[in-house]
């Protein structure tokens, strides 16, 4: 029996080993055809073109990923933190019983639904009246991802704030501080490691998000459409690393070709980026955790 249990645990290790091996092995094939340097520094990504037009500079995909993640952070970080402070320091039990489920609902909506929302509502109803955006644009995707990750920031930050012991708040009030001063200048700084970790995790999630960008942000890498204003133009279509993978599998790609292997090169880069960020968030939590007792 114990052997079976051990086998189960090994399955989790095998998953990671499997992911690493698959990504590395297939990427090696890719890097044999396309040099790593050209991959990392090239500014043209036309993987699905044929012949001499086919280029594998990943920068546009990375630019798209980063830009959309940054846009989402503008929404999820401040709103999430504000919600966390409100829920932790101000809200009555009745308010919490309404607001927390709403946040959980927002977090539970499948990403394809957010993609639909971004394409059919955010772009035509919210953005087009105000800005000159294309039907597919990075801004709508970024906003939708921001809304999706907002609950994550709120929930993790709220946990961090609630973990600050009551005695610190009492000390602040005892000195004649107002609630705002206590919350912002004593409680929040004491919880900063948890809050920053939640920020990093939300951005990491945004980087790994696939369906929202596949639906709403289109399949033209940034800087390639005729109307676009450059690598970071979020008013036009911006393909991300994940969007490229989704798009390519949406149109059957032949095995063994360079473009097939490029998927794994991109996948490896994606995996490394999110892995490093997740490690950072764990490091931040450990290193900056303020000792209270």
């Amino acid at each position: 029996m114990k052997a079976f249990l051990l086998l189960c645990v090994m399955m989790t290790v095998a998953t990671t080993v499997g992911i690493t091996l698959v990504l590395v092995f297939e990427s090696l094939q890719f890097f044999r055809d396309v040099g790593i340097l050209e991959f990392l520094t090239g500014r043209n990504w036309t993987a699905l073109f044929s012949g001499p037009q086919q280029q594998f500079g990943v920068l546009p995909l990375v630019a798209g990923t980063v830009m959309i993640a940054v846009i989402s952070a503008f929404i999820s970080l401040p709103l999430g933190l504000a919600a966390a402070i409100y829920l932790s320091e101000y809200a009555s039990n009745r308010a919490r019983s309404i607001l927390k489920p709403v946040l959980e609902l927002l977090a539970g909506v499948p990403t394809i639904v957010y993609g639909f929302f971004a394409l059919t509502y955010i772009t035509p109803v919210l953005l087009k009246p105000l800005l000159d955006v294309g039907t597919f644009n990075g801004l709508a995707a970024g906003i939708a991802i921001g809304i999706m990750t907002l609950p994550m920031v709120a929930s993790l930050s709220e946990d961090a704030l609630s973990a600050v012991p009551r005695s610190l708040r009492e000390a602040a009030y005892g000195l004649g501080a107002t609630k705002l001063e206590t919350s912002l200048r004593i409680v929040a700084p004491a919880a900063v490691s948890g809050i920053v970790a939640s920020f990093i995790l939300a951005v990491s999630r945004a980087i790994g998000e696939t369906m929202i960008v596949a639906v709403a942000s289109g399949s033209s890498p940034a800087g390639q459409t005729t109307v676009s204003g450059g690598l970071f133009d979020f008013t036009q279509s911006m393909q991300t690393m994940t969007g490229f993978i989704a798009y390519t599998f949406g149109s059957d790609v032949a095995r063994g070709t360079t473009e097939f292997h490029s998927l794994f090169g991109v996948g490896l880069l994606l995996f490394l980026m999110t892995f490093v960020m997740n490690l950072c968030s764990q490091w931040v939590t450990r290193r900056f955790r303020k000792v209270y007792e």
């Binding site: 297939e26 709403v102 539970g108 990403t111 705002l180 994940t242 949406g250 999110t274």
Partner: protein, 306 residues
């Protein structure tokens, strides 16, 4: 003990320092009230956003809800199209992934909580599981493609899809199962050992039954996340049309989120409405699954009062 400094001698006759304070209490109060409204607005905004989201789905989708939608197969013609194959595909994939992750998840959780000692290897395993929970879902698709579809030659079948999704939700199932097992009080285990039971007997007869509701809840919640996941199945299952219900694990298949993706990408406007209606169906299934999980949790937490 304390040495009188020059500063101390300058203080007033009541021991008060000559410097004074400008506490401006009213201003600080006002500022506090202002920020309170800001925080509340930011939080309440989430209600507005949820409302917008639901509106954007129900407005185009509600009228397209019909029995036909659920029973018919996909078609090029919007008036004929339905999502029957996708519904069945989703059910099978989620069931398969649930069974897989439940089994392996319980096994891992039991081992880590009851048998493992605290050494470097155990800690590595634990960190590894936490990290896996944060890997983008599309990467699991790449893994499934190479290992299940190609290497193990399952092809783009239901089995490959279910196994891929099973691996995706496994870390979360392990984590929540461990919490459920940890919640079983020590006194229960001690009572069992005190009667001469072995470790496995204790686990099988006492720990597992009492942790089971929590484990089930965690698994059902993970399954409800799996039913909404699209990216891995896009890679592993392919997005071509599937016009029948999968008859066995080695059949091609379609799942609801993929069908939605497919319809969203079509130019005809009717397909946008169909996609919205399909989303409503998907959300209804999700709601049902989550409700089951919550009811389960409530029911068993009432029964198992220590």
């Amino acid at each position: 003990m304390s040495v009188e400094t020059q500063a101390d001698l300058v203080v007033g006759s009541r021991g008060r320092s000559v410097d004074h304070f400008q506490p401006r209490v009213q201003q600080r109060r006002l500022l506090g009230k202002l920020w309170q409204w800001v925080f509340l607005a930011a939080t309440a905004l989430s209600i507005v956003l949820l409302g917008m989201l639901l509106w954007s789905i129900f407005r185009p989708g509600w009228q397209y809800m019909s029995w036909h939608l659920i029973t018919a197969m996909p078609s090029r013609l919007p008036e004929r199209a339905g999502m029957n194959s996708a519904i069945w595909g989703s059910i099978w994939v989620v069931l398969g992934s649930g069974i897989f992750s439940f089994t392996i998840g319980i096994g891992s959780a039991i081992y880590l909580e009851e048998y493992a000692t605290d050494n470097r290897w155990t800690r590595f395993v634990q960190t590894n599981i936490s990290n896996l929970a944060g890997v983008p879902s599309v990467v699991f698709g790449l893994l499934g493609l190479v290992v299940f579809v190609d290497l193990l030659q399952m092809g783009r079948t239901l089995l490959a899809g279910a196994l891929t999704m099973g691996l995706l939700i496994l870390p979360v199932v392990v984590i929540s199962s461990r919490e459920a097992i940890r919640a079983v009080p020590l006194s229960l285990r001690q009572a069992s050992y005190g009667l001469g039971a072995t470790q496995w007997q204790t686990i099988r007869s006492h720990v597992l039954p009492s942790a089971l509701p929590g484990i089930l809840t965690g698994t059902i919640l993970s399954m409800s996340r799996a039913i909404g996941e699209t990216a891995p199945l896009l890679v592993v299952g392919g997005a071509s049309q599937v016009l029948f219900r999968p008859a066995g694990p080695l059949d091609p298949y379609m799942v609801m989120p993929l069908q939605i993706y497919n319809w969203t990408g079509r130019p005809q406007e009717e397909f946008e409405h169909l996609a919205a209606a399909a989303i409503i169906v998907l959300l209804a299934v999700l709601l049902a699954m989550n409700s089951v999980a919550i009811v389960l949790r409530q029911h068993f937490s009432k029964k198992n009062r220590w």
